[in-house]
């Protein structure tokens, strides 16, 4: 036999009363902080030594919010008697977070693992122009990038 149910009108009062006695789920933000999940898309960080100024990120950005400038430098040859090597040096790497829409295409497209997602989210500014962050600032965010999560069981490890 089915248990006789309370009418919904009374049950609703019970629900609100029970909810009132439970602790609230609110996090009092400036006083206490939640830890965002490790894969949260907070802000984009730059690992400068990996960057080869290939411009793929800047060209794939739908908002054109990445500004890259670089120049070529001669370096001594690796082997004795060889030709001088040419390396690209990054002069400027700015992301305009007033334009960025956090699509993550630049992070996906980077062939040398120079761009990473960081879960840091507290970088608001009082002036929209100050949201243009340079490579020094982007490099500082590298410290907040978490270690990649361990692979799932059975996943193929890249050789």
């Amino acid at each position: 036999m089915r248990k006789p149910k309370l009418p919904g009108v009374i049950g609703g009062l019970g629900i609100t009363f029970k909810t009132m006695l439970k602790p609230a789920v609110t996090v009092q933000y400036p006083h206490e902080r939640e830890d965002p999940p490790t894969r949260a898309r907070g802000v984009i960080a730059l690992k400068e030594e990996n960057c080869t100024v290939c411009m793929l990120c800047g060209r794939s950005c739908p908002d054109w919010c990445i500004y890259i400038e670089g120049h070529k430098e001669k370096r001594p040859p690796r082997r004795e008697g060889g030709r001088d090597r040419t390396v690209s040096v990054l002069d400027r790497f700015d992301i305009d977070y007033a334009l960025c829409m956090y699509c993550g295409i630049c992070v996906e497209v980077c062939p040398f693992d120079a761009l990473f997602w960081s879960p840091d989210y507290e970088y608001s500014e009082s002036n929209i122009a100050k949201l243009l962050h340079d490579k020094r600032k982007l490099g500082e965010w590298m410290e907040t990038v978490p270690e990649p999560e361990p692979l799932e069981i059975g996943a193929e490890v890249k050789k």
Partner: protein, 350 residues
Amino acid sequence: MIPAVHSLLALEIGWGTTLAIKTVMILMIVPLTALVLGYVFLLKMMSHMQSRLGPMDPGGFHGWFQLVGDGIKFIQKEDIIPGEADRRVFAIAPAIVVISTFLVFLVIPAGPDIVVKDLNVGVFYALAVSSLSVIGVLMAGWASANKFALLGALRAAAQLIAYELPLLLAVVGVVIQCGTMNLQGIVAFQSTGAIFGWSGIGFPLIFTQFIGFALFLIASQAELTQTPFDMPVAESELVAGYMVEYTGFRFLFFFIGEFGTAFAFSAIAATLYLGGWALPASWGISLGVMRFLGPLVLFAKIMAVSFLMFWVRFTYPRLREDQLQALAWKFLIPIGLINILLTGVFKVAF
């Protein structure tokens, strides 16, 4: 009130001073109680029922200063009167709503002699005066020259008049049982009464008039235009009903009126059904002590009744306009009449 002050300070207080003290008390009580109810229930209880905290920062301790700050903000705002509005009526309307609340507090006793005017027709007066606010609401809606305001005001008028009846019928049961309309008399009846000869907790009328108590709460919920009966201010249909054109301190008046009236109705319910300021006479507490304890006892009972009112308010969604009218005319009024009949029969039988 005045003999209490006499006995406390051993002072001679003249007629003018008495009047001044009474006026100040009444003028203070409506905004203060509106603040208390607004903070305790609207800001805090509703938040916790929705699993959030509500304001926490203003004032340092659990956001107690939030409503005071809101009041200051409202006073600073520009007083806008629409160009097409009937300026004089538009300006007076909020005051009428608040005045009807002030007038209710005149007869509510908070102690053996703490009452502004101990009327013989106290219950009748309180209900008559509380329905004055309909006029203010209608004036506000009509004078705003806004179709939403007018619709809201008409809904309010239809609703307040419809629910005036069950309110009155519910109270008639109490009046029959006590044989008096004097609120002090009703309090005394409940304090000195006995349930089948046992006078341990006096005789709160909620035990015999529980139908009346439920009717009174439902009807007062509608009188206060609180959810589930808030069609006059239904924000999703009528923006804010009759208040839509009001800004600044005139809007604040409506807000104070709403919560002050909620407190007033809770006070009437606490007095009629829960024994008012009095503790059971058999406990043997002297009247001198009750002068100071009475207001606290009444306040505790009022908060209990307000808790019921606001609990319902924060739980239910809005009814439809026809459901609202059907509830009043098809259910509440017949039940009220049956309650009167039963009360009369039992009064004669016992």
